[in-house]
């Protein structure tokens, strides 16, 4: 990103606008799906799936993650691993209690 | 090893396993510490500046430590697979059937242990927080048919020897921890949850007390004598019993003994088996003490009958 030429930036701008449109579309879809009143498991899956795509778009294009440096990837990878541990292990603990 | 570690006497069936494991782990710890300690001391002396002027750039050329580390890892693996997991599984998975055991509920509160027995019918009466009052600490619904014959004691857990006991733990307010060191039992008591714990006492309290009898100096006992009771009669010079066996050594009793020329006393804890609260639960945490009384089956039945009588 650091040394992108003016032309490249112009190309980027087009991408940004496209991503914006995609995000709007996906938002409409999530809301629409939520009015279909799926049962909870598919609802969670669909909602989180769409949210992940949206999040991915924002991170990849707006935050330029798609062309980021290795160091940033490593840091984020670590974070993701711990994030998953933080969410899953307490849940596992909840399900595996003495009764 | 076990004596050396100074564990309290063990009165439960599974206690020996835990103690053994504590022993094994401590063997490992001692071995590592002594081993490294010898090496460490040797190096400190051998390579001091006055003796070893010029340091050696290479230093030790050994892989011994790698082998040692692998050995430690293997040992820890054995500890987990061979001891820890099976023992833990036995504690938390292999509960005896309710019908083969004595089942009680324990409701902890700041700062007491309420013990709830199902009574003769074997069913626990319903409870309701709105019924909680000074003389109904667990909110037992006496109008529930199951609850009519239920027995509730405060800080007294009475169980028979030689039969598994299941304790269902819950708390009214904050987190407590139900710990009976002599039975090698500990379980946090968490409000909003019911957590069971089980054990099988193999010694009566009476028996443990006798085993714990020791001679204590009256002048400088090193213990809190007020928690002790005499294990024999004490007489004055006219052979009149002044302090019978089973007296608590309150300060005045001690004074009396000293006045009669005694300097030592054979004594044992009045309540050797205690429920200690092991989780900070407020200002009275230190005195949230309950008592376990392991009785012979006959004495246990007699106690139940007596308690049932009080209900009428």
């Amino acid at each position: 990103m650091e040394h992108a030429s003016q032309d490249e930036i112009r190309k980027h701008v087009r991408t940004y606008v496209l991503v914006f449109v995609a995000l709007l579309g996906l938002t409409v879809i999530t809301v629409a799906v939520s009015y279909m009143h799926l049962s909870i498991v598919p609802a969670v899956i669909v909602a989180l799936f769409i949210a992940s795509i949206k999040g991915g778009l924002v991170a990849s294009y707006f935050m330029h993650l798609i062309s980021e440096k290795k160091l940033v990837y490593v840091t984020l990878l670590l974070t993701v691993v711990f994030f998953i541990a933080l969410i899953s292990l307490p849940l596992l603990g909840y399900h595996d209690t003495i009764d | 090893m076990l004596d050396f570690l100074g564990l309290p006497p063990d009165a439960s069936a599974h206690g020996a396993d835990i103690d053994n494991m504590i022993g094994v782990v401590h063997w490992l710890m001692f071995a590592l510490f002594i081993g490294w300690g010898i090496f460490f001391t040797y190096v400190l002396i051998r390579f001091r500046r006055t003796r070893h002027q010029k340091a050696d750039y290479q230093g030790a050329k050994t892989h011994a430590s790698t082998y040692l580390e692998i050995a430690v890892a293997v040992f820890e693996g054995i500890l987990i697979i061979g001891f820890a997991v099976p023992l833990w599984a036995q504690r938390v998975n292999e509960f005896p059937e309710d019908k083969d055991a004595i089942v009680v509920r324990v409701v902890a509160e700041q700062f007491a242990w309420n013990v709830h027995y199902p009574g003769a019918d074997g069913f626990f009466g319903a409870t309701d927080v709105n019924l909680v009052s000074a003389d109904n600490p667990i909110g037992l619904d006496r109008s529930d048919p199951d609850g009519k014959d239920d027995i509730v004691t405060i800080n007294q857990l009475v169980v028979p020897v030689g039969k598994p006991v299941i304790v269902r733990l819950t708390s009214k307010d904050v987190i407590h921890s139900f710990s009976i060191p002599l039975l090698r039992v500990k379980q946090d008591v968490i409000p909003g949850q019911v957590i069971p714990v089980w054990f099988e006492p193999i010694e009566t309290t009476e028996h443990i007390r006798v085993a714990m009898t020791k001679t204590y100096s009256l002048i400088n006992p090193g213990v809190n004598l007020m928690t002790m009771m005499t294990m024999q009669d004490y007489v004055d010079k006219d052979s009149v019993v002044i302090v019978p066996a089973g007296s608590i050594l309150f300060p005045d009793v001690v004074e009396q003994l000293v006045a009669s020329g005694y300097t030592e006393v054979r004594a044992a804890p009045e309540t050797p088996m205690e429920i200690a609260c092991a989780q900070l639960c407020g200002l009275g945490h230190y005195r949230m003490r309950g008592f376990v009384s392991v009785k012979t089956p006959e004495a246990y039945e007699a106690w139940l009958a007596e308690e049932a009588l009080y209900l009428q």
Binding site: M1, Q6, I9, R10, F20, A47, A51, M63 | -
Partner: protein, 196 residues
């Protein structure tokens, strides 16, 4: 001696200091919101019953807010691109828009909160409202923080453009990364709280 790599990138890492710094900061933010999501999931799984967000919360308002926030993300990145294209006036315009969107988001949020409070619904109501208010509240604080930073770079901070344009562009990029992150959090908050 000057602190190196405040403007240029370090060859072996390919990053300038602030860029690495903001990513690290965002990593910690992930863990912060992660802990709250973890709390939310655990409480919801353990709950006897849990209401469906769309029945209690105002989905249209939240939808509008989502659009506003996504829009602000675009204007933010465009403002940075304008700087890259050396168009300061355009930068001011886009940045201004971003800030306005931020305020817009807060205003809508205020209406939402106001409606809840006027019905006597507070965080103390039940666990659903507790998580709703806590999560959106913390997110709102992040929005406010972002607005403050952006306003600074729109106003007084932008004087740096005349002296050190590259450094200023970097700063805007870093502020942008933060702002997109705030957007990203909302993208997950919106379905979890309002739609599920």
């Amino acid at each position: 001696m000057q602190i190196p790599y405040t403007v240029t990138t370090r060859p072996d890492t390919g990053l300038h200091n602030a860029k690495l710094g903001i990513w690290l900061f965002l990593a910690s933010e992930v863990m912060l919101f992660g802990s709250l999501f973890s709390a939310y999931i655990l409480l919801r799984v353990a709950a006897v019953e849990w209401p469906h967000g769309s029945q209690l919360l105002n989905v249209p308002l939240a939808f509008i807010n989502t659009v506003i926030l996504i829009g602000s993300s675009v204007t933010m990145v465009l403002s940075w691109a304008s700087l890259k294209m050396k168009d300061f006036a355009k930068y001011r315009r886009y940045m201004g828009l971003t800030i306005l969107c931020g305020f817009g988001f807060l205003v809508v949020k205020a209406f939402e909160y106001g409606a809840k409070f006027s019905h006597g619904l507070s965080p103390a109501e039940d666990l659903f409202y507790a998580t709703y208010f806590t999560l959106t509240g913390l997110h709102g604080l992040h929005v406010i923080g972002g607005i403050i930073v952006n306003t600074y770079f729109w106003g007084p901070g932008s004087r740096m453009w005349d002296t050190e344009p590259e450094r200023f562009t970097n700063r805007v990029e870093v502020a942008g990364l933060y702002w997109h992150f705030v957007d990203l959090v909302w993208i997950f908050l919106f379905p979890t709280l309002y739609l599920l």
